[in-house]
Symmetry: C2
Subunit: 581 residues, 2 copies
Amino acid sequence: MPALRLALAQLNPTVGDLAGNAALVQEWSHRAAAAGAGLVAFPELALTGYPVEDLVFRESFVSTSRAALARLATDLAGEGLAGLPVIVGYLDADGPALASAEAARTAGPRNALAVLHGGRVVARYYKHHLPNYGVFDEDRYFVAGDTLTVVRVGGVDVALTICEDIWQAGGPFAAARAAGVGLVVNINGSPYELDKDDVRLPLVAGRAVETGAHVAYVNLVGGQDELVFDGDSMIVGPDGELLARAPQFVEHLLVHDLDLPAATAPAPDAAAAGMRLQRVALPVVQPAMPGPPATGGIAARLAPEAEVWQALVLGLRDYVHKNRFGSVVLGLSGGIDSSVVAAIAADAVGAGNVVGVSMPSRHSSAHSRDDAIDLAKRIGLDYRTEPIQPMVDAFLANLSLSGLAVENLQARVRGVVLMALSNQEGHLPLTTGNKSELAVGYTTLYGDSVGGFNPLKDVPKTMVWRIARWRNQLAVERGQIPPIPENAITKPPSAELRPGQRDTDSLPPYEELDAILAGYVDGDLGRDGLVEAGHDPDTVDRVLRMVDAAEYKRRQSAPGTKISIKAFGRDRRLPITNRFR
Amino acid sequence: MPALRLALAQLNPTVGDLAGNAALVQEWSHRAAAAGAGLVAFPELALTGYPVEDLVFRESFVSTSRAALARLATDLAGEGLAGLPVIVGYLDADGPALASAEAARTAGPRNALAVLHGGRVVARYYKHHLPNYGVFDEDRYFVAGDTLTVVRVGGVDVALTICEDIWQAGGPFAAARAAGVGLVVNINGSPYELDKDDVRLPLVAGRAVETGAHVAYVNLVGGQDELVFDGDSMIVGPDGELLARAPQFVEHLLVHDLDLPAATAPAPDAAAAGMRLQRVALPVVQPAMPGPPATGGIAARLAPEAEVWQALVLGLRDYVHKNRFGSVVLGLSGGIDSSVVAAIAADAVGAGNVVGVSMPSRHSSAHSRDDAIDLAKRIGLDYRTEPIQPMVDAFLANLSLSGLAVENLQARVRGVVLMALSNQEGHLPLTTGNKSELAVGYTTLYGDSVGGFNPLKDVPKTMVWRIARWRNQLAVERGQIPPIPENAITKPPSAELRPGQRDTDSLPPYEELDAILAGYVDGDLGRDGLVEAGHDPDTVDRVLRMVDAAEYKRRQSAPGTKISIKAFGRDRRLPITNRFR
């Protein structure tokens, strides 16, 4: 059996930064070569970043991607890497002209990969299965490929596939089985969801067994707007055995030696499983594999809270840095949400780059201020106090307001203060409303909702408490000061916009609320389904009314990292105007 | 030749109001029967409203749609309309269970129509071509039908199709030709775009000629969030001649007598043009056509400015009323944008339901205040003055701000005032930023951008001036007072956030800016394409930088009526994090 040292480059590109991403590919190709790899694979659309959305329709973007690919092939060869086959995702199109979405549909944009070798593009593959559900709109962007590409590398036949191709039974993997390949490489842009890693391994293993081949799965890592990619790259044997697996949420080069069946003269399979087949033989340039055998190892799985925390930290860090901010500012109420966001922000960009602003009003309790100060000290962030009462009073003196209007006024004055600090000092403002609040609209539009990013947007309140406890425990284990004051975790939540206010004045207890929301929002259950599941009918009715009525607020909400099966945003598209109850 | 009196019911349903929409169908069916119609057709998804977006994934919504259809059939028969075949769009699915998006993909939701007759559903058709571009995501929602349904009505074979089916050459219309039908009914949910009516007629006429049959095109009318449907229903003969056409932007029953070829014994065309064929013969119940022949007439086309104005009025009116608001509030600066929005709002919901608030600061010019007062008097709206300086001063006294932070502060204080009035009195707040401003980010997030709806969101500044002049001229022609002060139209635009400020301090002249934006935003031209088109390279670079950098503001912007080929919102999906220039 031929041996192949395979490298999977789990890296973090930036959407639209083609030069920067190409430089990353070069850097990691050098590392793969230095590790003695005979083949290195990069993730889906690594050259452009992923997802590129409507940039696909810009002809200049497609031509830049093509030019960057050609240049990358030349550069790699020029840097002594001509002998290393490099698999890299990029954007291509059938025709040169994409002047409109209409033209794009006929010009045929392609979610493509190329094999670079000897200074040239020696093979291409176009993604066959295009996801058009959840956060994905790939039927909008791409024309599906109909040809499976098999490259012979070091005497082994390797089939090339992209992301969704592995989630569907027919198509490329069936064709790969018919073609008798030894290895299927699957390059991915697969966003994180809680426990998705538990789904991926059985999927990849099952497909490997079904295909009778090794499967190498390489995924992006990093944040892109509301998505965070967790890596979790892996190699599975034809018996479904997990051979190597990369850690989540960090860049990683997974290098592993594989014994693979020697390719035989191909059967006359010009077409297989409804796909055409294209075979490309690379000159044998397998380097002598230096030193000891390479084993990629199997990274330990993370606890759910650890997974979520790392997803939120990476999602925020990349949003801040990829958008060229250096620091963030947020309001500190002393409550759990802002405390957790402050801790996430400190982990993401460093405590010294986090500005926390206490903005007490006459309804702010002493413990709130104390808890905010305590938090700031524990984390070591840049702490300020900006009392809002003078500004609130100026509005009250000039307008005739009462009730909810006065409550919202306070939140909005805080929003103005935060935005003023952001404008004046250049920090990215963070907002801190959790998924439960966003779902039922328990938030003031243009008030506590102001901000460029919301780390907790997709985190239900009960999960906010869980990750707070987890993060404090982690600190204890590391011999550090727990960042989040115990009091912020244990006290009853309150917006403190009127005397004695408690969240439970307006909402069911969060355990009950989150269970209903999981059914309604994430599960698309209707009213009757929720009642059948055991929830109190009146509470269900009340919660559903609140969720439906808050759609207009969510439509203007800040982006935030998706961690659930269904996040607010592009993942869940509902009309504002909707009378269905 | 048999004669058929055909009625096309161009009506305005509400998304999610299945009982209300069914009642509308009943009411209009009675009107069609009273007019002696032998067949009446309602628009796409008339029973559920359109588009329903992710409501498709809620099993309870699908089952409600099915139940409403069955009940509608019974009710129509019970009201003496058993003999009138009624074609109506509704939501169906292959299986009962749609508990998740995943399940929905296999359960097969259908964009469906039914023919109701004799108290029963006698025929169904499932949309074949699913649009998945622009504002449409129908590959996300629906499984494509593969069977053309032909019903024999009064001795004529009628093929049934839905919307996108007419935009594609193959599929249902080719099958209809092969089946030798006399009439194709095409039911639509086709959103308004400027000059789209100029595209529709050649499309329908061309398809009629190609198919060798009459084509009846019936479209929705009304606003749904960012879309407005303009009606423009029409009937075209097999020679491409326009026989009848309904006016735009109003509900209308288009009734027209057609001489149609008698159906012959069908050829053995179990399949045609790649589609299966299903034939249904209705009992002959053609009523004697009473009175004189019915001719639907051909509505005069509107000038572009009239089209846009009516689209904006209807889009706003339906957003307000369908969301159960009774009134709106907006800030009046004396400038052109807020003046035009006030005039649109008065036309939409009545001047007495429009609250206009002048919020002068120390930088507000005397002419601004005068122009705002003049506007309020001309329109007769509810006018208030709320000077913002005391509140601005309270912030300035407590925060250390300068430059842009001070400018934005003023806009944000105005935002807080507007929202306080909205909270206190229950008006829907309107925001008034035009498409040009939104494109380049010449707006203060949470400042002048606050509001639940933005009538000018998709209207370039140069078009704002055009429709202002058009509306004033219309008033003159009607012997009314022109609503918009001449000074608001002619004076140089200024945000008045610092002394002597002019828009042209920060932006190119609007004629130039709008031309660049039309190329970049609507046309997906890149930098080089715009320079080739004759624009100044430095200006192009500056504008493109501004547009790209403002994506985060647009992501939190209020919804507003789409009137262009590419509106901000779901029509144009770009990443915030994006380094491509």
